[in-house]
């Protein structure tokens, strides 16, 4: 017989171990639905054995719980962070491109194709009856509808750019807020872990925050060993970098800042004023390579990587809002030039050639009019009123200067000229004054619809078809990427849940297991108690 009451001590340890494990089961069951929670386990070991004095060996002293650990595969976290950034980026692009598709409203019976068809159909009717006031007024009305279509589209695109700019602001604020929260958790975790504990729940919370951050911007997050603590463990600091520069470094945070671009610092000529430049708060340039922020920046500034001739700034290499505004501007300029001046870029150099001027609206005469040189399409002036031919040309008379005047037209200011709006009889059909049914000029205008040399994409309707298709393909691609990323992310989330998630069945089984252990330990106490009962009360009575 060994030390008195030794057995009772061992049994009590058994009670404590089982109770500790039951506490952990309780905690796990409580957190079965907590986002990012990883299940915890007691680290239970056999307690230090006792050497028996008579040299018969070591006697076990029961069990003890020396720690609580979380079951977590950190590789899956790194994997999640690297995949979440492209999920964020393509998700945003898909969303904005879908909005764009709705905006262009094709294929439909009220989109560009229909409006263009109506315009040319009314010109056909005019060719059959050039003197008819009803048809002339119809031509004018359809031309106004055509110009309004572009004005409207351009305005909507600018509104979208403005909205995206606003969303960029929100995202940057969100990133800064997450960075601050992570920094605070870093401090708490570090202090907690100084005393050999593992801050399981706070680490889980931090991972949730980093998960959120990784969707917003490209990050790399890792713990670096910076030295050793006095008790010889590794001293780890948690660091998050964005394109190589630390956003969070242990207890310090570098926030991002927004700065409105000056008029001279526009990335694209087409941009609306006051867009935000995202940079580091300390003034350094920020290179965004992924995440929702990248998606938003690409959509807001993307113009196929073209260089702004005004200041040499390079746009992101993606077809964002400015690309579509640019294409619409290109369309109205070239179309107006062809319609008014008969200018067709035959050699495809996208530049001025004096011999490429042909028969256009300006070479014709209106009904009962000996006025020639009227431009059908001009633009709105500073007072937002449509300009007349003379105001539009503003003194330009050489072909080269006239060519350049059209560079001022944009989709937003495109308009039917004031001359035509005031008097539809000025719509030119004839190449000689006073010939009511001469439609030589009108026929030249009608032929423009099928003129495949007008744009590098072909005829006017081919141009728009190509633009809509480009948008459709980009949108489809963004959708596919985003779907694929979603599958990858889901897979990682599933693996995380598989590894770290709480299984109710498992916990219930454990509950029973530990309950039995507890009961057994309690039974042990009872037994020992009975032994003492026998020894003390019954043996010597």
């Amino acid at each position: 017989m060994g030390e008195a009451f030794f057995g009772l001590n061992v049994a009590v340890r058994g009670l404590f171990s089982a109770q500790r494990s039951l506490d952990i089961v309780n905690h796990n069951l409580n957190n079965v639905n907590t986002p990012g929670y990883s299940r915890q386990q007691a680290i239970q070991v056999a307690s230090r054995p006792m050497a028996l004095a008579d040299g018969t060996g070591m006697l076990g002293t029961g069990s003890e719980v020396i720690g609580v650990t979380r079951i977590r595969d950190e590789y899956l976290d790194f994997k999640y962070w690297s995949e979440a950034m492209s999920y964020g980026e393509w998700g945003v692009k898909r969303e904005i491109l879908s909005d764009l598709e709705i905006l262009f409203n094709e294929p439909s019976d009220s989109g560009f194709t229909a409006i263009m068809s109506n315009f040319f159909d009314s010109l056909q009717e005019l060719a059959k009856d050039p003197g008819s006031a009803a048809v002339r007024s119809l031509v004018r009305q359809n031309a106004v509808t055509l110009t309004r279509f572009f004005n409207n589209l351009a305005t909507k695109l600018e509104e979208m750019q403005y909205d995206i700019n606003h969303r960029i602001q929100t995202k940057v604020e969100e990133i800064n807020s997450l960075a601050l929260q992570i920094q605070q958790l870093n401090r708490q975790i570090y202090i907690t872990e100084l005393s050999e504990n593992t801050a399981n729940d706070m680490r889980d919370q931090r991972t949730v925050l980093v998960d959120k951050l990784s969707k917003l911007i490209n990050i790399e997050a890792y713990e670096v060993v910076v030295g050793y603590t006095p008790d010889g463990r590794e001293d780890k600091h948690f660091v998050i970098t964005v394109s190589g520069k630390a956003l969070v470094d242990h207890f310090t945070v570098s926030t991002l800042a927004l700065e409105q671009r000056d008029a001279g610092k526009k990335v694209n000529r087409e941009d609306i004023p006051g867009l935000y430049e995202v940079k580091w708060a300390d003034g350094n340039k920020l290179n965004v390579k992924g995440g929702e922020l990248k998606g938003l920046l690409d959509m807001r500034d993307g113009n196929e990587g073209s260089v702004n001739p005004d200041n040499g700034l390079v746009s992101p290499n993606y077809k964002g809002i400015p690309y579509y505004i640019k294409k619409l501007n290109e369309f109205v300029r070239i179309f107006a030039r062809a319609f008014n001046e008969g200018y067709i870029d035959l050699d495809g150099d996208r530049g001025f050639d004096a011999d490429e001027f042909g028969t256009g609206h300006a070479s014709g005469y209106g009904h009962n009019s000996d006025l020639s040189g009227i431009r059908f399409f001009t633009m709105t002036g500073e007072s937002r009123q449509p300009l007349s031919t003379s105001d539009f040309l503003d003194g330009a008379s050489e072909p080269e200067d006239i060519y350049d005047v059209y560079e001022k037209i944009t989709a937003k200011n495109f308009s039917v000229s004031a001359d035509i709006l005031d008097d539809y009889n000025l719509i030119a059909a004839s190449d000689e004054a006073g010939q009511a049914s001469n439609i030589n000029v009108l026929n030249a205008l009608l032929a423009l619809r099928r003129n495949a040399d007008m744009f590098s994409e072909g005829a006017p309707e081919d141009f728009m078809k190509s633009l809509v298709t480009t948008m459709g393909i980009d949108s489809q691609q963004a959708g596919n990427y985003s779907d694929n990323q979603k599958i990858v992310i889901d897979q990682i989330v599933n693996r995380r849940l598989s590894y770290s998630g709480v299984s109710i069945d498992e916990e219930m089984a454990n509950l029973v297991k530990f309950q039995h252990a507890y009961n057994a330990a309690a039974k042990m106490i009872q037994t020992i108690s009975e032994i003492y009962e026998t020894l003390i009360n019954e043996l010597f009575v």
Binding site: V32, M464, N494, D505
Partner: protein, 304 residues
């Protein structure tokens, strides 16, 4: 693989979500009758849809142009037929003049000729929808004054053509000079003078006035020539109307074909889509039923 309760729930939500996405797509197709709602659904179909819309719209415009061209040419043909009738009558009067002996009867025939001349002048000023048909580009001006003298210069190059196809146009007008001036242009110098038709009428009326039987007989050949001119122009107009009708038939085929292509390109096959929807619905029901069974029980339910 270790399966946890939240995995089951997440996966169930994901699968049911996928089911609903597919059903939503089919539902949109059934509701709109179109395979695609936005270009990204299928950019190739979208591009073709745009192209076909343009083509169909153009063909419809050409069909309207064809109808208008035919009306114009039909008016012209009627006018030409009337002019032919006039010359036929004139020839009968010339032949009949041999047997007329009394000056009163000769005068009566002359009066009829004057009437015919007025009618000829009116026909020369025939109009279609308010536009004079023989004056080339100057459709707002009359060809002849009340004496049958030319009012405007008309060159044979003043051909009004309507577009009736992609690279196809038809000349709808007959030029005044071609008909009234023996095929020649009506130049500035000739304005104020009568053309050959009217001149011949004037000469014939004068011959009747003078009871110059010799001169009257000599006019026979002139009016045969005039009739030939009218017939020549009529044949030309007839040929043009023929061509219009052929083109119209072709356009009718084209529009049927293009509409069919358009439908094949973008319309949904209803039977197939309904079958697919039904199929999806079954899958959806199955996944709901499966999901409901799988997330319900846990060990808790069986521990007593």
């Amino acid at each position: 693989m270790r399966i946890t309760n939240n995995m089951l729930i997440n996966n169930m939500i994901k699968y049911i979500g996928n089911n609903l996405t597919r059903m939503d797509k089919l539902q949109a197709q059934l509701a709109t009758g179109k395979k695609i709602q936005v270009p990204s659904d299928d950019p190739v179909v979208a591009a073709r849809a745009l192209k076909l819309r343009t083509d169909v719209a153009e063909i419809q415009q050409y069909q309207r142009n064809l109808k208008d061209a035919r009306s114009w040419l039909e008016i012209t043909e009627t006018t030409l037929s009337d002019i032919g009738d006039i010359f036929q009558r004139v020839r009968e009067l010339i032949v009949g003049s041999d047997s007329i002996e009394s000056p009163e009867d000769l005068q009566a025939t002359k009066n009829e000729l004057i009437q015919l001349r007025t009618q000829l002048i009116n026909l020369g000023n025939a109009a279609y929808a308010g536009r004079y048909i023989f004056t080339g580009f100057k459709t707002d001006q009359k060809l002849l004054d009340e004496n049958g003298n030319f009012l405007v210069e008309v060159y044979n190059s003043e051909q009004i053509s309507y577009q009736i196809g992609l690279a196809d146009s038809i000349n709808v007008n007959v030029l005044g000079g071609d008909l009234f001036n023996n095929g020649a242009d009506i130049t500035d110098a000739e304005v104020g003078n009568p053309g050959k038709f009217i001149q011949d009428m004037n000469d014939l009326i004068e011959a009747f006035d003078n009871a110059d039987y010799e001169a009257i007989r000599n006019m026979t050949q002139n009016f045969s020539d005039n009739l030939d001119t009218v017939l020549r122009v009529r044949a030309d107009v007839g040929a043009r109307i023929n061509r219009l009708e052929l083109t119209m038939n072709r356009m009718l085929n084209d529009i049927t074909n293009f509409t069919r292509l358009m439908s094949e390109n973008e319309d949904v096959d209803m039977t197939e889509t309904i079958m697919n929807l039904k199929n999806e619905e079954n899958v959806y029901r199955a996944s709901l039923a499966g999901g409901a069974r799988i997330i319900m029980p846990s060990l808790v339910d069986f521990l007593r």
